[in-house]
Amino acid sequence: MSKKSYRQAINEALAQEMRRDPTVIVMGEDNVGGMGAPGEDDAWGGVLGVTKGLMPEFGRARVLDTPITESAFIGAAAGAAATGLRPVAELMFVDFMGVCFDQIYNQAGKFRYMFGGQGTTPLVIRTMYGAGFRAASQHSQCLYPVFTHIPGLKVVIPSSPYEAKGLMIQSIRDDDPVIFFEHKVMYDDEEEVPDEPYTIPFGEANLTREGGDVTVVAIGRMVQFANQVADKLEKDGIGCTVIDPRTTSPLDTDSILESVAETGRLVVVDEASPRCNMATDISALVSQEAFSALKAPIRMVTPPHTPVPFAPELEDLYIPGPDQIEAAVRAVAGYRA
């Protein structure tokens, strides 16, 4: 056990799985860096350094740099997964899915069903998401609702370093295509993370706070904000249960429904664009399955229906923050029919 960053946690998970299983390979643009170049080898280890050090240990045959050609190499990862390898391919920013989505949702995600249960596709796609980096509208999207929408894909969104390591190891060992979302502003977040390998199962939510008044379901980075708000409101006598679903597909519906059965009040916090997102998905689930338990309107906390703006002042307004969460929790807690 030692303090590790979100970045280190993911890196360690990759390294440990590569040691354990020789069929695990890693690929992506500049995942090593300096390919064919005159300077240092392992020059980058990924654009934000997550795969740094893997090539020196495992060699270029297992840590592959790629041309800028996402359809070809994400598709190659899918094809490799169907034929004996367990590739972890990096789609640098999830915003780039638009040039390679077919290989993910029509190919990898449908193989098993189209082929009547033949084979497995143990593919992991690591990808960066989220706003806050002043990276503007083509480098700041969440887009996990789009992947969650697609049958055949699994969607993993770790909310802390501990979660990241355990969920990454599970992702690699899982036999289905997994999209693993890393929030770009969380890479330097640190917490205690075990040194040895461990897995966190999919579809089992984590209750990061427990309280009897309001259920707050939060996704990815939003879990931190929800925790902050829960801690603050606890002092004001409002008890929140904060649920981190960990995976949006599969989704641990039971944990959410059980909590709402107790609290009768729900806030869902989602950094993704507001239409057809996880906030709507979870709200709809609850309004169908736990209606009789509900004592107040469900409140969704999301960004507005706009692209992510560049200017820091606007981007800060865009991202759902603790203040909005607090207001929503207070509103539902104080609601009387």
Binding site: T83, F115, G117, Q118
Partner: protein, 322 residues
């Protein structure tokens, strides 16, 4: 002429004839309304699939297109299972869930027909990477149409296969049309120049001539197995039917298909070649034809009589576990 032994020639003829009869029968059966959905027939193009796949073994992979039946048969898929799949039966190769456009048999190295034009080339790069990484000695083949040769996914794959030095063969089956659109119009430049422009050999092949295909594929496969990287075959051929069943083919010249069947039939050419050179007897070929005919009859009868999937099948096979 290539030095092929009799067994290989018999196998080649059997496979080509199996594809032809399979497709001709699907054509007839489709007209009865018994077969649902979109069906794209490979009749006329048999020498390509068979000429390529006879150079492959079970540790080699292929990825196919929407026009996949021929590739499946050439790679060893069971015709009964295929026919049942096309009819949407529970015992079909894909449990009736895939249909004509998604037939696959991973155990035979057949990674699937594909409903997405250009879907296959990235996938075979992956199969080739597996072969290379795991040291299986295998190669991987992407079949792609002339239309599919313009898709970005295909072109990217040329470069990736070159840069990663993968054991891949790209087989561009140019039947002159993508749906109704002539390849002469839609393909800027040339297929073989494209190959060379990405740093791999490209070779033009007469797709009506089994021997030409076989030999070119052999060279490409040997090259790939030797670790010398990808190559491309530009196979010119013609399709006997419409783009899909139901296509009236108004865009083709009058007499075009008749001429194709008359003058460019790969089965006829094969028969002439092997009988004239005395490699096989006409009676042997006749016998094969009868056997194949009976086999396809049985496949159709089997498919017609087979059971549909059960309601619970709807929900299975989405994930390995969920």
């Amino acid at each position: 002429m290539l030095q092929l032994n009799r067994d290989t020639l018999v196998e080649a003829f059997t496979l080509m004839k199996t594809i032809r009869d399979f497709e001709d029968r699907v054509h007839t059966e489709f007209a009865t309304g018994a077969i649902p959905g979109f069906v794209h027939l490979y009749a006329g193009e048999e020498a390509s699939a068979v000429g390529v796949c006879l150079n492959l073994n079970d540790s080699d992979y292929i990825a196919s297109t929407h026009r996949g039946h021929g590739h499946c048969i050439a790679k060893g898929c069971d015709v009964d299972g295929m026919m049942k799949e096309i009819y949407g039966r529970r015992d079909g190769l894909c449990g009736g869930k895939g249909g004509s456009m998604h037939i696959a048999d991973l155990a035979k190295g057949m990674m699937g027909a594909n409903g997405i034009v250009g879907g296959g080339p990235p996938l075979v790069c992956g199969a080739a990477l597996s072969a290379k990484t795991l040291g299986t000695g295998g190669v991987a083949v992407a079949f792609v149409g002339d239309g599919g040769s313009n898709q970005g996914t295909t072109l990217e794959s040329y470069n990736l296969a070159k840069v990663w030095n993968l054991p891949v063969i790209f087989v561009v089956e140019d039947n002159g049309y993508a749906e109704t659109t002539a390849s002469a119009w839609a393909v800027g430049g040339s297929q073989t120049k494209r190959a060379e422009a990405f740093g791999m050999p490209g070779r033009e092949v007469d797709g009506h001539d089994f021997f030409d295909v076989y030999e070119a594929a052999q060279e490409a496969v040997e090259r790939a197995r030797a670790g010398d990287g990808p190559s491309l075959l530009h196979v010119r051929l013609g399709r006997h039917y419409g783009h899909f069943e139901g296509d009236a083919m108004a865009y083709r010249a009058e007499g075009e298909v008749e001429a194709l069947r008359r003058d460019k039939d790969c089965l006829k050419a094969f028969r002439t070649r092997v009988t004239e050179t005395g490699l096989l007897e006409p009676e042997q070929l006749d016998q094969i034809e009868r056997e194949v005919g009976a086999r396809i009859d049985a496949a159709v009868a089997g498919a017609i009589g087979a059971a549909a999937p059960a309601a619970e099948d709807l929900l299975t096979d989405v994930y390995a576990s969920y």
